[in-house]
Symmetry: C2
Subunit: 394 residues, 2 copies
């Protein structure tokens, strides 16, 4: 008998029919004799609907009240799943974050979990109940409702798994595991059976959408084994863990699209200070940190915030993509990677990286060709690196 | 400076535009120097939408989980109103029942308030905040979310007003006060400036929809002055209180439509025991309590539950209406009332009542003519009872 935490996202609970399917997955685990804590997001579309109401009132609604509003979304989905489970004869109890209790700081809209109390969950699990917890939310020391920011349900699941010392935290999503690259772009992308936390952290940081960086880091830090599974299909998914041996050198290829090249008429040292202050992440392209004009690459999603900081000092130059290879001693392959791209007429403007990852700045227009080519040559064929036997397409 | 509790129902908060209008009313009271606690229902339609989701799962969803689900509705409306007030520069804080704390029993879906803690509200009011509380909900001793049943927001408002020793509990609704009869049926219905709790209780019990019986009884018991006001128009509304002098004899006419006449092949004593057991209210028409067949009148809304109790022993005879007159020593007018109805060809099957009310059983088809006639003759004209000067139509 294991203790499992199973997290299902908004799409997985987007309708009563979908919630019935989630119940099937939960019941299957229960029938195997496992204790189960389920963590849910709000039904797909609900968070946006609530946010839409708030935006009718104010472009920046009161942060405290926004959290009260948004937390209602998960309250609906947990109640509905508990009803379905009860209807099918499996005793289930829903708990809001306040009922768990999940303690956070009071950084409304983007709170950080400090502690998860286990007593209520342990009592319920002990009496055979399935516990259904609202993801994404918490309470601060004054009893205010907080939320963890978008995608925070993954973090809730990991934090609960850590607190309960669960055997596995299973993240159910719309793909059946972690792939060597985005399977929607590259059809030959292969599902990984296992991946080491170090590489998964790189993948998430460098553009893989399947797991949120914050929750991977939290799981890594608290040594919680993660498994990515499909909500809709059977399968073993991908296990993210520490004691994982991999016989391939290059694990995967990640892509960050919609990146913006920006010139700022300030020295790089000043820019980096400001970026840190506002929690913005950018790739600094400056060669000399005392130059009067600096160049950075930043996600298009952060452009509006960047404008608030640098205003007229910044000039938007163009769109680029960042292609990253993740694997062991990846830097040693730099030359052959550059050669392959050059032969295909794809310009690499610059690169950066460390032992586990190598990021290349390319033109936005080249992203499809580049990811396809690099994945084919360095992951599937492995022709520069020897065969990669267990990476066969699942 | 007074302390006011203002309650707004679902229609009053049915859209962002409506919530903005509610904010206007609240701000007006605040500008007069009053401290204000606002109690809100869920946005119109929201409770039904949530109930619809639950009914897709089960005809009788898990009561505990139904309360978790439905309580999300008020959480949305309180957050939105607090945002609007903050946007307009009035500091406002929303509180769920759990944050207040509103203690109830654990009778899910129909819980009773035991106690309202005042400390959180008093602190916030003391620092100048407008406090916006979720109506309809509570928490039991184990921290479970409960709800008070439909219309429970009125009860929340009254309970908070009582706990805070508020000067007035103001119920904002879609009519501008308590009328001498339903103004949607009888255009000459007149708004009452004041009404004594005793008569208001009769009105609510006998069909007046403007105030819920439970909340009137609660307010009466805890001696909380109630005022019924329009959400949409200015006006003084109707004050329900104790030290109220009325110089008219007949205060109003109430109507209960959609009543069902039922024969049950059991003695009345047995039937009444069963009705008590299931919390059903009926008008027992039996003349001899040992008769093998009894006849009762029950609301059509309760018919399904009645069938569950008496099954094949009951037979549905027909639809009737109950017309009730409320006022001082009302029984003394029985003869003239019967005469007026008889002259108009309206049959009175039977009647019952006490010092403050008189109820007549009439055919369903006669209800419009009867209420119009009785209201005209005994309330507006007051011709059988002397003039009723301050009942002029507002």
């Amino acid at each position: 008998m294991a203790l499992l935490v199973q997290k299902f996202g908004g799409t997985s609970v987007g309708s009563i029919e979908r919630i019935e399917a989630v119940a099937e997955r939960v019941i299957k685990a229960r029938q195997c004799g496992h204790q189960v804590v389920v963590v849910l997001s709000a039904m797909a579309g609900e968070t946006n609907r609530l946010l839409g109401l708030a935006k009718q009132i104010d472009t920046i609604p009161t942060p405290r009240e926004l959290d009260v509003l948004l937390a209602a979304g998960e309250q609906v989905s947990i109640a509905l799943l508990a009803m379905v489970l009860n209807k099918r004869g499996y005793s289930a109890i829903s708990l809001t974050a306040d009922q768990v209790v999940i303690h956070t700081d009071n950084n409304f809209n983007n709170a950080t979990i400090h502690e998860v109390e286990t007593q209520n969950m342990t009592t319920l699990l002990g009496q055979g109940d399935i516990v259904v917890v609202a993801g994404f939310q918490g309470r601060d020391i004054d009893g205010n409702i907080t939320t963890l920011g978008r995608g925070g349900s993954d973090t809730t699941a990991v934090a609960i798994a850590s607190a309960l010392n669960a055997d596995e935290c299973q993240i159910f999503t719309d793909v059946d595991g972690v792939y060597s690259t985005d399977p929607r772009i590259v059809p030959s992308a292969a599902r990984l059976d296992v991946i080491h936390f170090d590489y998964m952290t790189c993948m998430a940081r460098l553009g893989a959408k399947v797991l949120q960086l914050q929750s991977v880091e939290y799981a890594c830090q608290h040594r919680v084994p993660l498994r990515v599974l499909s909500s809709f299909e059977e399968g073993q998914g991908t296990l993210v863990n520490f004691d994982v041996m991999s016989n391939q050198n290059i694990i995967g290829v990640a892509l960050q699209r919609q990146q913006v090249l920006v010139n700022i008429t300030l020295p790089a040292t000043v820019i980096n200070e400001q970026l840190d202050l506002y929690g913005l992440t950018a790739w600094d392209l400056s060669t000399d940190s005392s130059d009067e004009i600096s160049q950075i690459v930043i996600s298009n999603d952060d452009l509006a915030r960047l404008r608030l900081v640098f205003d007229s000092k910044m000039r938007h130059i163009g769109m680029v993509s960042i292609l990253s290879l993740i694997g062991k001693d990846i830097q040693q392959h730099l030359e052959s990677i550059q050669m392959v791209l050059q032969e295909a007429g794809i310009t690499v403007h610059t690169y950066q990286g460390d032992k586990k990852c190598l990021s290349l700045l390319i033109n936005e227009d080249d992203h499809l060709a580049a990811v396809d080519l690099i994945h084919e040559k360095f992951v599937v064929d492995g022709q520069c690196l020897g065969n990669l036997p267990h990476l066969a397409v699942s």
